[in-house]
């Protein structure tokens, strides 16, 4: 889901810009939003790389008695099969985060390139792209994701492809909109007058200046990728057990919750919640710093 920005109103007061200007020059570590974002994202990426290695126990095999509440030995307790919750929670980013980041990057790259072409070259291609992208947007992402993943096999590669496919239209839209604006600017005309071919203009001038919205969107997309993966796994249409994955963990723990076993749902849930908030915060912080008008 992409939350659009409220469009600028004509005749808008430049004071908002004044505030943003002051924000831009503020040192980055004085901006709480940015700090929170960077820290959480940093931790998430670190765990994605090293989580499994530093986990105290093997996250995929039972290591202790089942349903043990958090203790000195098992920091987050164990679940009904005796797996250590803490180890599973910190090993999950290897799947969740890697998946989401890969999908976000891939869809970002594809979407940006397609969006560039659709915006720069008007005509049939552009309209076709927009129509297809519109149709895809009209459809609830989650259900489409379920269908794609369940039917192509529930492995990581397919998950990445499915997410990429679903998120590409967002980037197409964002880039195309920005390209349409940039294309009307005088520096593009000046570049043409200087003797650049269309291709060179698109690559040298328009593309670099149309990236900002997509860059901001990337971080948020990672967050939503994580949510989607967790949701899919929760209903059984995502990652397969016994892989450690936050959504799976929450799904497995649900029946026990009403019996009072809270630690198996709480910790993975907090992990998802915090991680996605972190990516969203990072995105918002970047947006505020980069906003020009």
């Amino acid at each position: 889901m992409t939350i659009p920005q409220a469009p600028p109103v004509e005749g808008e007061h430049p004071l908002e810009n004044l505030a943003n200007e002051k924000l831009k020059t503020k040192r980055w570590f004085h901006d709480p939003l940015l700090v929170v974002g960077i820290v959480i994202v940093g931790v998430a990426i670190f765990l994605a790389a090293f989580g499994e290695a530093i986990a105290p126990y093997d996250p995929t095999v039972p290591v202790g008695p089942p349903s043990v509440p958090p203790s000195g030995q098992y920091w987050f307790g164990t679940d009904t099969s005796g797996l250590d919750v803490f180890s599973r929670v910190i090993s999950a980013p290897r799947i969740d985060v890697t998946l989401a980041v890969s999908a976000a990057l891939l869809s970002g790259i594809f979407g940006t390139l397609i969006g560039l072409m659709a915006g720069f070259y008007r005509g049939v291609f552009s309209s076709l792209v927009m129509r297809i992208s519109d149709v895809l947007q009209a459809f609830p992402v989650f259900i489409l994701a379920m269908v794609l993943v369940a039917l192509s096999g529930r492995n990581l590669t397919n998950l990445i492809f499915a997410l990429t496919f679903l998120y590409t239209p967002i980037f197409i839209r964002l880039t195309r909109a920005e390209v349409l604006t940039q294309r009307e600017r005088s520096y593009v005309e000046a570049a043409r007058a200087a003797g650049n071919s269309d291709f060179k203009i698109a690559l040298k001038h328009v593309l670099p200046n149309s990236l900002t919205p997509s860059l901001i969107q990337l971080s948020v997309t990672v967050g939503f990728g994580i949510l989607l993966t967790a949701g899919l796994s929760f209903v059984g249409a995502g990652v397969r057990p016994p892989n450690p994955e936050w959504g799976l963990m929450i799904a497995n723990s649900a029946p026990q919750l009403v019996l009072g076993e809270w630690w198996t749902s709480l910790f993975p849930g907090i992990a998802v919640s915090l991680t996605v908030v972190g990516f969203a915060a990072l995105s918002n912080a970047i947006e505020r710093r980069v906003a020009t008008s």
């Binding site: 889901m1 939350i3 659009p4 920005q5 409220a6 469009p7 600028p8 109103v9 004509e10 005749g11 808008e12 007061h13 004071l15 908002e16 505030a19 129509r131 519109d134 149709v135 947007q137 009209a138 459809f139 609830p140 992402v141 989650f142 259900i143 489409l144 379920m146 269908v147 794609l148 369940a150 039917l151 192509s152 096999g153 967050g223 949510l227 967790a230 949701g231 929760f234 209903v235 059984g236 249409a237 959504g247 929450i250 649900a254 919750l257 009403v258 009072g260 809270w262 749902s265 709480l266 993975p268 849930g269 998802v272 919640s273 996605v276 908030v277 990516f279 969203a280 915060a281 918002n284």
Partner: protein, 334 residues
């Protein structure tokens, strides 16, 4: 205006058709094997062939397509490979449940979020503003299924303020007849107040969960849109012209609506997906649960039917929103 409506409706129809066709071919192109699912992976070739024929999968893909499309034009969505019942019927009983859930959640979210957004727009930079921004950021990033579970744990298990998550009504209750398919409406129409209270009792937690998630973006957008309009040239001019404050307030709100409406469309799509998860958590038999079953069982007709109906519903909602937008904002029709 009428032409605009017709044009959009026409495009919508084509889009719905387009998606149906695409889904039809895509799911058949993917490697999953529904026949094997039905008869097991170790069945004999004869049994397999028999099953394949019963599902109609032995025919060429084109003849399958033709069969399906001709059925579609007659209003027949086929039968479920799992239950054998007509898809249309199954969806007809499942859809209202989901719609009720979504509508109530949305209404609640709007009721709370819009005034808060407006209030913070008037006092930018204050503590309330910062707090609300944080809330918006937080709420919009949450996994709704987990929050559903959390709410169940606290409100049902710890405090007894909500019923067990066992569906729309308490298990022992005699549900009212299915007229619209929506629990609240049906019980109200048939004057069955016990059922009404029970339905509401079972609804409040899932509705609150969804509303919580969706309120974040709504507050953010309302605040942002309103704040931009408040700082705009034309509102300033209206003040300078001495217009009554009531008129100016109405003007401001009207001008702030378009982005919120656009967001509403996006959120609706999101809610349809979110409803799937919440229905699972709270054991509601809405379209969300239906679609999960259909997908996991590789029930192609059910999948196709669900996709078609959801697309149609989404497109109708988008069309309505677009029309509202065109009514409010005269610049749109160009």
């Amino acid at each position: 205006m009428g032409r605009y409506v017709l044009k959009r409706a026409g495009i919508g129809l084509l889009q719905a058709l387009g998606i149906t066709i695409v889904v039809f071919f895509v799911i058949r192109a993917l490697p999953a094997d529904p026949v094997a699912r039905l008869v097991g992976f170790n069945s004999s070739p004869e049994v397999y062939k028999q099953a394949q024929a019963s599902l109609g999968l032995d025919a060429s893909i084109w003849s399958q397509f033709v069969t399906y499309m001709s059925g579609l034009f007659r209003g027949d969505l086929g039968v479920s490979w799992v239950t054998g019942s007509p898809i249309l019927e199954e969806i007809r009983s499942a859809l209202p449940i989901t719609l009720q859930l979504i509508t109530l959640s949305f209404a609640l979210a709007l009721l709370v979020s819009v005034p808060v957004g407006i209030a913070t727009a008037k006092r930018p930079g204050g503590k309330l503003d910062k707090g609300v921004f944080g809330y918006g950021l937080f709420a919009g990033a949450q996994p709704e299924f987990w929050w559903g579970l959390l709410f169940i744990f606290f409100f049902y298990y710890s405090w007894g303020l909500a019923p067990a998550p066992l569906g729309q009504y308490a298990p022992g209750l005699d549900p009212p007849p299915q007229i619209t398919g929506m629990s609240l409406v049906d019980s109200l129409i048939t004057g069955n107040f016990t059922a009404f209270i029970d339905a509401a009792w079972h609804l409040w937690l899932p509705v609150m969960t969804l509303a919580f998630i969706v309120s974040g973006p709504i507050i953010k957008m309302t605040r942002q849109s309103m704040s931009r309009v408040l700082g705009s040239e034309f509102i300033l001019y209206q003040q300078a012209s001495g217009l009554p404050s009531g008129q100016i307030a109405r003007s401001t709100i009207r001008a702030s609506l378009p982005p919120v409406l656009t967001l509403a469309g996006i959120l609706f799509g999101f809610l349809l997906g979110g409803a799937v998860l919440i229905e699972q958590v709270f054991a509601f038999n809405g379209l969300g649960s239906y679609s999960v079953r259909a997908v996991l069982n590789l029930d192609y007709p059910a999948i196709q039917g669900t996709v078609l109906i959801i697309t149609v519903v989404s497109l109708v909602v988008y069309l309505v929103l677009d029309l509202l937008l065109a009514v409010i904002d005269p610049r749109v029709k160009n």
